[in-house]
Symmetry: C2
Subunit: 213 residues, 2 copies
DNA sequence: ATACAAAGCTGCACTCGGTGCGAGAATATT
DNA sequence: AATATTCTCGCACCGAGTGCAGCTTTGTAT
């Protein structure tokens, strides 16, 4: 779950102290690598960007790259994961009581949907859709988000009997969000993201809700 | 969509003639490679199985392997795709009239669920879950199934206005199936797959159907 | 401040997946 | 039988990723 930069981060988490110069430099280098990688991916394409180019651009050696990222792909995965699951968790837990799970998740996603319009999001999403391998990874990341959202929902409704249905809610909600984003990008951004999200959740309700038997 | 072995298969599809010895040998070699690969994956693990080993086991050269499969992964993808989408399509189109889309898909999946119990399915599914890359590919394959199922649903309900909701149905149904299979494997196969599938669809109906607004 | 331990950086050599190319063998066509 | 097409193969090559060993930098104990 933790992914990168966790081999010596245990102390940091516990003591919450940057532990000095070492950790700060590490953080700086990490961000420099990610930044360089994403920039080169957007400009020259994913496949055409070699690790040597990233390493040179970030001012490190090729070998050192692997001390920060497990693989080339992980630059993208890290970006994709960074924040989103955590933001969604916060937004879910911040929803007022009295709503059913589906409403909570939908409204939480609506809160976050403003972040989708950024240039960075669109630019990197184009990279993510540029190759088969990356599309696969992107899909897999939705799986991670699904797990995280499920954990959050279980945190809010800690009833073991609801576990199975909360898994379904997490799956279908993230799927709805995925389809909404796809449709939105497909449409070229004319209508706002929110309307696509609403339409997706309404569609699920009408298709799955009518004759439950 | 076609994937492998399509560079010279055009003639075969059109004329539906095996066109003699060449095509037969090609088919034989293809199956021999797939068989060898799957066997070695199951026995020694995916990463530990090199292309040289597969090629040697199948009696071909390393270079020739890439004339049959685009990549090592494709052996697994091909197995995973082979038949399923097509079977699901047939089962969907065979459902009696009068059912709503969700019911049609659910009942079609129930028809196919008997195929999940085979030893081959379980064995290869274990390989698919053995590495991060493969898990990602597996997820991505669900995306392909989603597209195929969506196309089938559009074939049965060719109303352009329903397109968006049919996409949702395809997404949520395949997600439900995925969760059902996961839960079933998790449970060790005590209860039959069917009950997990039923539970998943019922759960979706109750969570998304109650207060739609 | 000095000495020592720990962590980080780097180059080297290596494995493996994957591709382009060209020659030669097998198959199909006339 | 001659010709064209396709299959197979070896070869050289590239990029991603790993293990190792040595060196430098940072942190800590004395």
């Amino acid at each position: 779950m933790c992914g990168i930069a966790c081999q010596n981060a245990g102390m940091d988490i516990v003591s919450s102290k940057p532990s000095g110069l070492r950790a700060r430099k590490r953080q700086e280098t990490l961000e420099r690598i990610a930044e360089t990688g994403l920039r080169l991916f957007s400009r020259n394409g994913y496949e055409a960007t070699t690790l040597d180019a990233i390493a040179e651009g970030a001012g490190i050696s090729r070998r050192t790259f692997f001390h920060y990222f497990k693989s080339k792909e992980e630059i993208l995965l890290d970006w994709q994961l960074r924040g989103f699951s955590a933001s969604l968790r916060k937004a879910v837990l911040a929803q007022p009581a009295g709503k059913v799970p589906v409403e909570v998740v939908r409204d939480a996603m609506l809160m976050l949907s403003v972040g989708f319009r950024t240039q960075e999001f669109i630019s990197i999403d184009r990279v993510l859709r540029s190759s088969e391998t990356l599309k696969a990874r992107k899909q897999a990341t939705y799986g991670l988000h699904e797990q995280a959202l499920y954990a959050t929902l279980m945190e809010r409704w800690p009833d073991p009997d609801r576990g199975a249905t909360l898994r379904l809610v997490a799956m279908a909600s993230l799927g709805a969000m995925r389809l909404a984003i796809e449709a939105w990008i497909q449409a070229g951004g004319d209508r706002p993201v929110d309307s696509f999200l609403h339409a997706a959740f309404d569609g699920l309700a009408s298709e799955f809700g009518k004759p439950s038997r």
